[in-house]
C-alpha cells in the first residue's frame, strides 16, 4: 500500500514511532525500546474501492457491484489496515515477574480501501 506523503490524500499508511522512554514506560517494558503505531488515513473514492485489497479480483468484484447497483458516485469506502503483524513484548508484570508474549495484529503493515 502507499506510505503517506505530502502530495496525495489517497488512502495510505502513516508511520509513527513512539519510544517508551518518551512516555516513561521503559522501566517496566524491557524489550522492545518502542512501538511503531502506524495508522491508515486518506480518501477512498469509489474508483479505488477495494484496492489494494487482498487481491485485484476483490477490487474488480467491488467495482462491478458499484456499477451494477448504480451506487451514488459520491459514496466512499473506508481506508483500513489490510495487513498487520504481531508485537513481541518482554516486560515486568505487577509481581515483578518477567513475561514474554507476542501480541497479535499490533503493527499495521499495509492499508487499503474496504
Amino acid at each position: 500500500s502507499l506510505r503517506c506523503s505530502q502530495n496525495s490524500n489517497l488512502c495510505c499508511r502513516k508511520d509513527y514511532y513512539v519510544d517508551f522512554r518518551d512516555i516513561g514506560w521503559n522501566d517496566w517494558i524491557i524489550k522492545p525500546e518502542g512501538y511503531q503505531i502506524n495508522y491508515c488515513v486518506g480518501q477512498c473514492p469509489l474508483h479505488v474501492a477495494g484496492s489494494p485489497g487482498m487481491a485485484s479480483s476483490f477490487h474488480t468484484a467491488v467495482f462491478n457491484l458499484v456499477k451494477a447497483n448504480n451506487v451514488h458516485a459520491s459514496g466512499h469506502s473506508c481506508c483500513v489496515p489490510t495487513r498487520r503483524r504481531p508485537l513481541s513484548v518482554l516486560y515486568f508484570d505487577r509481581n515483578s515477574n518477567i513475561v514474554k508474549t507476542d501480541i497479535p495484529d499490533m503493527i499495521v503493515d499495509a492499508c487499503g480501501c474496504s
Partner: protein, 218 residues
C-alpha cells in the same frame, strides 16, 4: 485539534499526545493489565540476563490466527529458610479469572555449591506447599526428588510438571515450594546460594486461551 490555534506545530503536538495515549491504552488492553506495572525489586543485571538466556531456549511463538496466546514467564523466588535442611521459596503470580491457562513447561533453577570432597550423597526433595499453614504447617505434595551426585558449583534445573498445572487451574496468587535435603550429605541451606545474583528462579511456558475465544461446541 480544531480547538487548537491553527499552527502546524500545535497540530503535531496534539497528534503526538493522542498517539502516545493510544499506545498506552492499546498495550495495557492487549496485555490485560489494569494499569502500568511498577516493578519493585531491582534485579541484578547478571541475574536478569541469565534468566533470559533460559527463556531463549525454545519459545512458544503464537502462530497467526492461533486461538491461544503463548506466554513465557520468569519468576524470582523470595527465599525463607525454615530449618538448616529446609528452605521455603515463594513466587507471586496474578492472572485474570477468565483466562484459561495451560502450562507447557515449568522448571525451577537452583544454584548449588556442593563441596568437591562431599562424600555422602545428598538427596534434594521439592514439595508444593498448599493450605493456610504456609511453608510449615500446610499439606505438601512431592514434586521432585533427586540424588545430587555432581560435585562443585553450578545451576541445576528441576521440572515442576505436572503439579504446576494444577496450581494454575486452582487458586492463583502465591506459589509456595519447600526444598528439603535428605541423607547425611549435609544441610541444604549451606549449599544453596540464594544471594541476589544467584536467586532461585522459575521458568514457565504457557498457552493462554483468551475469553471469547471459546470454540463453539458443535
Amino acid at each position: 485539534a480544531a480547538a487548537e490555534p491553527l499552527c502546524p506545530v500545535c497540530g503535531a503536538a496534539a497528534e503526538r499526545r493522542l498517539l502516545e495515549e493510544t499506545v498506552k491504552r492499546q498495550l495495557l488492553d492487549k496485555l490485560r493489565l489494569p494499569e502500568r506495572p511498577s516493578p519493585g525489586q531491582h534485579l541484578p543485571r547478571a541475574a536478569l540476563n541469565r534468566a533470559l538466556r533460559r527463556l531463549q531456549e525454545g519459545g512458544t511463538r503464537t502462530a497467526p490466527g492461533d486461538l491461544e496466546r503463548g506466554y513465557e514467564i520468569i519468576s524470582f523466588a523470595e527465599t525463607e529458610p525454615t530449618s538448616p535442611s529446609a528452605l521455603g521459596l515463594q513466587f507471586q503470580f496474578s492472572r485474570t479469572q477468565d483466562q484459561d491457562v495451560h502450562i507447557l513447561q515449568a522448571q525451577l533453577w537452583l544454584y548449588l555449591r556442593l563441596p568437591r570432597d562431599l562424600v555422602a550423597a545428598l538427596t534434594l526433595r521439592i514439595f508444593l506447599a498448599s493450605g493456610e499453614g504456609g511453608l510449615v504447617g500446610g499439606n505438601r505434595t512431592l514434586l521432585s526428588e533427586r540424588r545430587l551426585r555432581a560435585k562443585g558449583s553450578g545451576w541445576r534445573a528441576f521440572s515442576l510438571m505436572p503439579a504446576l498445572q494444577s496450581f494454575f487451574e486452582g487458586q492463583h496468587g502465591t506459589l509456595r515450594l519447600e526444598l528439603e535435603s535428605g541423607g547425611d550429605g549435609g544441610d541444604l541451606v549451606a549449599f544453596l546460594n540464594a544471594s541476589r545474583s544467584q536467586q532461585p528462579f522459575l521458568v514457565a511456558k504457557a498457552k493462554v486461551r483468551e475469553p471469547g475465544h471459546q470454540v463453539a461446541k458443535r
